[in-house]
Amino acid sequence: MSGSSLRGSIAITGVGTAGCGEAAGLSELELLALAAHAAVVDAGLTMADIDGLCTANLNIAMWPLNVVEYLGIRPTFIEGTNIGGSAFVAHLLQAALALQAGICNAVLVCYGSNQRTGTFGRRERTIARNSLDPAPYEAPYAPFNPPSSYALIAARHMHQYGTTRPQLAEVAVAARGWARLNPEAFSRDPLSIEDVLNARMVSDPFGTHDCCLVTDGGGAFVLTRAERAKDAPQPSVYMLGVGTAAWHRTISGMADLTITPSVDSGCRAYAMSGLGPADIDVLQLYDAFTINPILALEDLGFCAKGEGGPFVEGGAIGPGGRLPVNTNGGGLSCVQPNMYGTFAVIEAVRQLRGSCGDRQVAGARAALVNGNGGNAAASQATAILGTAETL
């Protein structure tokens, strides 16, 4: 039941990003299209070759239709499941099933957002969503979401395991260290533990540097069956395993605030891939807040439950540390246009291609991507990607 027949069955042959940071004057569809076009060219294809589409958007209910019309494609496989920012990692499973079933030959996974500079930005969307998707058992207490929900998670983790604010700060400082090596990253100024601790409070224990960026950006990648990927111009990156898990919607409905669904999604991805934590060379862990990579490291078996804080101390996940995490700078320092999933996948691909320049992890062969979605670590999708050698 591990789905191991999907191991290595599909490959990512093209990736593209656009407008990471600030992209004033560009619409969400334009950012998506710029990234999509770059990914399709990178894959050695044309838009006419795309016959599968995976996409999601936080504002628009029938978003795949907007994208189909704008890109001028008529796909035979359309996947618009939206489980939050993890969606584009989760899409890998559905895309693999469709490709293997022969429903389609080239799937484009794509996203774009202008939440930083657009006229309908973060604030407007929050107001609209409060009426479209009300949380009647939480709204009266006005949690400042998403920070407050993750702050409740962090506070409980601190209470239960002794995790400290300086340990949370290590995550932000490591991300900034990587971002400083990445010309595409939005925030590249030096950042110290003290800077993180002294920043303005948002929802305690989080200050501003514990919270991800609010940027614009588009991200896209192209998937084909593995045998077809051999003709692609770039080194192909293979999907070795993938798993998705969703347990709740609201923070009130989260069974144990210190345990996320990546316990399940990770197990599923490991089982499909036949790999374990010790086989992973580089990790891209969705860092909506500094607590997220700590939870993911625990739930994905890189350390025991409760030991994520000590694990990240001393620059352990930054450049030169013992485990490279979020090598692009992550959502904390590189790019975070509301849904980060595509960008985590793209950075994993770039690492496995060996195209990351100053931030390249030498000899990276297997990468783990963990997507996080919803206001309360509600959905998690884990993917394990590898070079041709790992097949």
Binding site: Y137, S148, A151, L152, R156, D204, S252
Partner: protein, 117 residues
């Protein structure tokens, strides 16, 4: 016929927190449901909450409009075995501390046990 959400809301507006209890597995259910999420049973009976609980997690929201004070948002584990969001109003809010419920303007407000609001 009102659904469980509406029944809950009407009780809360009259100043009372009521919880569903499942005949099948004897567990309390929150938020209100059509069937029990634990055992699938459909025999759910309303009972008033006893009002005691423990702070499970807590945060203070500092992102507030100018001139407004930061405020507390907590998750409280009620003695009935359900966890819900509310506001704890106390000199110091600590995870694990015992709290007592009052319903104020259809909202759940808690005070540390022994501290009179």
């Amino acid at each position: 016929m009102n659904g469980p959400d509406e029944e809950f809301r009407l009780a809360l507006e009259s100043g009372e927190l009521r919880l569903q209890h499942c005949d099948g597995c004897a567990r309390a259910v929150f938020p209100p449901r059509i069937f029990c999420p634990h055992c699938g049973g459909t025999a759910l009976a309303w009972r008033p909450a006893q009002g005691g609980g423990e702070v499970y997690s807590s945060t203070t929201v500092h992102m507030v409009p100018k001139g407004q004070a930061p405020y507390n948002v907590s998750l409280v584990a009620l003695d009935e075995g359900v966890r819900l969001m509310g506001r704890v109003e106390g000199r110091q809010v600590v995870i694990g501390q015992r709290v007592t419920l009052r319903v104020e303007k259809a909202a759940l407000i808690f005070s540390p046990e022994g501290e009179t609001p």
